[in-house]
């Protein structure tokens, strides 16, 4: 049995479609050049010296006590943050799915899950410093503690947990909703207490999902740059150590080797998460729950659970509110009245606010549609097309998800500052807006692709086949059928890409040149200098921008998005 003829025919059919072939070639070039190559060059840099293969660089960096310390620091933070975020996420998810909650609490939950999406990554660090630091509102003025230090291990853990637990919450909520209530009711009928049911039935079903949530958070935590940078103090993590190795020690080769270490950890965890846990999660929880679940009304259970959630949620919201308010105080920590707009004024008059917002805004505005379109094309190819290199496209775009921004940044520095493979080729893009845009695109691509893939899987393949059969080529099918049908996913991908780009910092801070002022970099700088009021003013405006783009998107989808009936007919088809 040989499938050679069909393989040859499929190739011929593909070749008869020049737009498709060009797209695929361009796509592969893009992915190879801007995702694979920067990572490859890190390996080359750290393993190949003047006389061939060498471990000297690795030996050198591993001999640095600071680096060894950074590795343990990062892992310690990652593990604790992973556990805490998963637990808090589970609490929220459980309460939402199992407990009868009123509108108020429900709204609170929605807000909590939304806030981390629209806010820049280091907002929580700023507010923790302002609330609990030396001059903290709570520590100093409420409790009268004058020497509290939030910098270091616990600062990072608290801030990252609050930043990442909503992700766990949303993952686990989806899983809990899929548990068939009759499994638990059967156990209840046999006389098990609610706690026993949770331990014996719910938890085992949820275990792979919890592992999944833990690993996702763990990866996020060790890849996080902004929070450790601001609140880490002298407690360095891998991401900040790599950054300092480049900006402080000017040791790019050493940084490359460090980046390889960080990358190896995230890739390993990503592989476990992707290929082991995700499959297991899908296997234990198949299909949708057949019917509604009896919500818990027993007050001895609901009251404490709800109270814990409300407390946590209020705390989170308080932290976010702290930033805009902080920007209004005349002098943080000393003088609170009268409220003033002077910091906002300063932002625009002295600190080149307009330029910063213009640069950030324009660069993000350009990269968002590119990202959205690119991720839809990748999803289309991955879901609907069959050809041999498709696996490569899928794998590399998913790989980007596991690459920490700092690693990518170092890769770009090593990969493009001297041109491709230090030959001078493409050197021209280094330090330009183009490379910043490319970084934005690469950093947002995986999220967009993932949402595109799940949207496309909803569409019955015969709809596109019918268009193809009527005489449309792949390009027309994509433009006239696929894209209109996943318009919602496209629009939200557009905004997500925009928001992610305008709030990005980890990779971009390594690549930005003085000719561009980016908001996030400004916030980082002012926070480093201790000028928290200015940092808050910048951050407040940034939050306003991102929040209004999300609102705008929702409005847009409501009016111009795919109508409900069409969506329903897609799902039935």
């Amino acid at each position: 049995m040989a499938k050679s003829q069909s393989v040859a025919l499929e190739r011929k059919k593909l070749m008869a479609d020049p737009v498709m072939v060009t797209t695929i070639v361009l796509l592969i070039t893009f992915l190879a050049l801007f995702i694979l190559y920067p990572l490859a060059i890190l390996l080359v840099d750290s393993f190949i010296g003047n006389n061939g293969l060498t471990f000297d660089v690795f030996k050198r960096v591993l001999d640095m006590p600071t680096f060894r310390k950074a590795i343990t620091n990062t892992l310690n933070v990652g593990i604790l943050v992973g556990i805490l975020s998963t637990l808090i996420g589970l609490l929220f998810a459980y309460v939402e799915v199992y407990v009868k909650v009123g509108k108020g609490v429900g709204g609170l939950f929605k807000m909590v899950s939304m806030l981390p999406v629209v806010s820049p990554p280091f907002v929580l660090s700023l507010s923790v410093i302002m609330l609990f630091g030396k001059a903290g509102l709570i520590t100093r003025f409420l409790l009268g503690i004058y020497d509290n230090s939030v910098y270091g291990f616990w600062g990072i853990v608290v801030v990252q947990t609050l930043t990442f637990f909503p992700v766990c919450y949303m993952m686990l909520r989806g899983l809990l909703k899929n548990i068939d209530p009759s499994l638990e009711e059967a156990a209840r009928d046999m006389g098990a207490s609610r706690f026993r049911v949770f331990i014996n039935v719910t938890l085992p079903l949820l275990l792979p999902g919890l592992g999944n949530a833990f690993l996702v958070t763990f990866i996020e935590s060790i890849a996080d740059f902004a929070n450790p940078m601001i609140i880490g103090g002298s407690y360095d993590t891998l991401a900040t150590t790599i950054y300092l190795q480049i900006t402080g020690a000017y040791d790019k080769v050493g940084a490359a080797a460090m980046a390889v270490v960080l990358l190896s950890i995230t890739l390993l965890m990503f592989a476990v998460q992707k290929y082991y846990l995700e499959a297991k999660t899908a296997a234990t929880l198949t299909g949708k729950a057949s019917r509604g679940r009896m919500l818990i009304e027993d007050r001895s259970v609901t009251v404490p659970l709800k109270a814990m959630c409300a407390l946590a949620a209020t705390f989170v919201i308080l932290m976010y509110i702290c930033v805009p308010i902080g920007a209004l105080f005349p002098t943080w920590g000393y003088k609170f009245t009268p409220l003033t707009f002077k910091w906002f004024n300063l932002v625009f008059t002295r600190y080149h606010g307009f330029v910063a917002f213009r640069d950030s805004f324009l660069l993000s505005l350009v990269s968002a549609p590119i990202t959205a379109l690119l991720s839809m094309i990748i999803s289309y190819i991955v879901v609907k097309k069959r050809f041999s290199t498709k696996g490569f496209i899928e794998a590399v775009s998913m790989l980007a998800m596991a690459v920490p921004g700092t690693v990518l940044g170092v890769g770009y520095i090593r990969g493009f500052s001297g041109g491709v493979f230090h030959t001078g080729f493409l050197q021209g893009i280094y330090g330009t807006a183009l490379i910043l845009i490319i970084v934005f695109v690469v950093r947002s691509l995986p999220t967009g692709t993932r949402s595109g893939i799940s949207a496309l899987r909803q569409i019955d393949k015969s709809i596109e086949e019918s268009a193809y059969d009527m005489g449309a080529d792949s390009f027309r099918v994509f433009m006239t059928v696929t894209l209109p049908l996943i318009k919602d996913s496209f629009l939200s991908g557009l905004v997500t890409a925009f928001v992610r780009s305008i709030t990005a910092i980890s990779a971009i801070i390594l690549l930005v040149t003085p000719q561009f002022l980016l908001i996030t970099v400004q916030i980082n700088e002012f926070a480093e200098k201790g000028a928290f009021s200015v940092a808050c003013a910048f951050a407040t405006i940034l939050i306003l921008i991102t929040y209004s783009s999300v609102l705008l998107m929702n409005l847009f989808i409501k009016h111009f998005g795919t109508s409900k009936q069409i969506k329903e007919s897609l799902n039935n088809g």
């Binding site: 049995m1 040989a2 499938k3 050679s4 003829q5 069909s6 025919l9 499929e10 011929k12 059919k13 008869a16 479609d17 019955d460 015969s462 709809i463 086949e465 019918s466 268009a467 193809y468 059969d469 009527m470 005489g471 449309a472 080529d473 027309r476 006239t480 059928v481 209109p484 049908l485 795919t562 009936q565 069409i566 329903e568 007919s569 897609l570 088809g573």
Partner: protein, 359 residues
């Protein structure tokens, strides 16, 4: 539609798939050869998983054959993509474009062919009239009933005037009554347009009702091709006989072969059947008797015993034992006939032409 009609020819077509469970390759379609005459209505019929859809999708171009060549008219089309093939498919799920209304759905193929506005409008409206959907052109597709959606799918396929229309179980999502009226409709339109049609179904009465020719498939292999009558009265295998209608199988050994008849020994009794070329004395044959072809009589025939007798209104249903073989009979219009009761012994009678011998 003044186009030259084209037929379809499959020459030794095979398709290999990988079984997702075992990871082993298997033939979904194996060495299928067949010729479909221009303008004829041909049905691919067979049990689930026998490769009907795969065959149709290879003709449409969605799958590529692993062996053999497909011809449209005289042109080999293996390497052509679906959009370059002069075929149009009507899908089981209708596959209408949900973001377009009826008119735009039907006009889609014409717009791709850059047909001018007036002509496009005229042709769309003509086709909508043909499928009796005039007045509905501005409805969205989700505002239509299943039968109407199916008509839009048909109109959309017809309007581009393809050489061949392909149907993959187009009626299986409709209720039984609508299925019957729609199949008559499809047949009427096909005859009116004179187009070659290949129709996949696993409903044998549907196949009987609309086809010029039926192709029976089993496990990826074409087992028989013929008119509905040929398939029904002269099945070439037990599978076909059993799959189409009800069939009783009797075993008989040829004891005598004459010019116009043959004698076979069945359960110890000689019976007379029409002779078939290639029969040999001494060999055992499987004989097919349709339930409506046999009759019960008091004397003569094959001795048998009634084990079930059941009045069904328009017919009497019998199960009788001939030796150890169970034979099912339907005797029509039982009103003025003698009814045999369970336990009675009698004779099973049939004419020499009512028996079909499987060679």
């Amino acid at each position: 539609m003044g186009k030259i009609k084209k037929g379809v020819r499959l020459e030794h077509i095979s398709k290999i798939y990988k079984d997702p469970k075992t990871g082993k390759d298997f033939y979904a379609v194996k060495d299928a050869s067949l010729t479909i005459e221009p303008g004829s209505f041909v049905t691919l019929l067979g049990p689930s998983g026998c490769g009907k859809t795969t065959t149709l999708r290879m003709i449409a171009g969605f799958e590529s054959p692993d062996e053999g060549e497909i011809y449209l008219g005289d042109q080999p089309i293996n390497a052509l993509t679906p959009n370059k093939r002069d075929t149009a498919m009507v899908f089981q799920s209708y596959a209408l474009l949900p973001h377009y209304n009826v008119f735009d759905n039907v006009a889609y193929g014409l717009k791709l062919r850059k047909i001018q506005k007036e002509e496009l409008h005229r042709r769309v409206m003509d086709i909508l009239a043909l499928v009796e959907l005039d007045g509905m052109e501005s409805r969205m597709t989700h505002q239509l009933s299943g039968g109407q959606q199916q008509r839009v799918a048909l109109a959309r396929a017809l309007v581009i005037e393809p050489s061949v229309l392909l149907f993959d179980e187009p009626l299986s999502n409709l209720d039984a009554k609508l299925r019957v009226s729609m199949r008559t409709e499809i047949r009427r339109i096909q005859q009116e347009v004179g187009i070659t049609a290949i129709y996949v179904t696993h409903d044998q009465s549907e196949a009987m009702a609309i086809s010029d020719d039926i192709i029976i498939m089993n496990k990826g292999i074409i087992t028989q091709k013929g008119t509905p009558q040929e398939i029904y009265y002269h099945p070439n295998s037990e599978f076909v006989a059993d799959f189409i209608g009800e069939a009783n199988f009797l075993n008989g050994v040829a004891v005598e072969i004459k010019d116009d008849f043959a004698l076979l020994q069945v359960e110890g009794n000689p019976i007379k059947v029409a002779v078939q070329a290639g029969m040999e004395i001494g060999r055992e044959y499987s004989l097919v008797l349709r339930p409506e072809s046999g009759n019960l009589i008091d004397k003569g025939g094959l001795p048998c015993k009634v084990v079930l007798s059941c009045f069904m209104g328009s017919y009497q249903n019998y199960h009788v034992l001939v030796g150890k073989t169970l034979v099912k009979l339907t005797v029509h219009n039982p009103k003025n006939r003698r009814i045999y009761q369970e336990g009675e012994s009698c004779g099973l009678a049939f004419g020499p032409d009512d028996i079909h011998i499987l060679l």
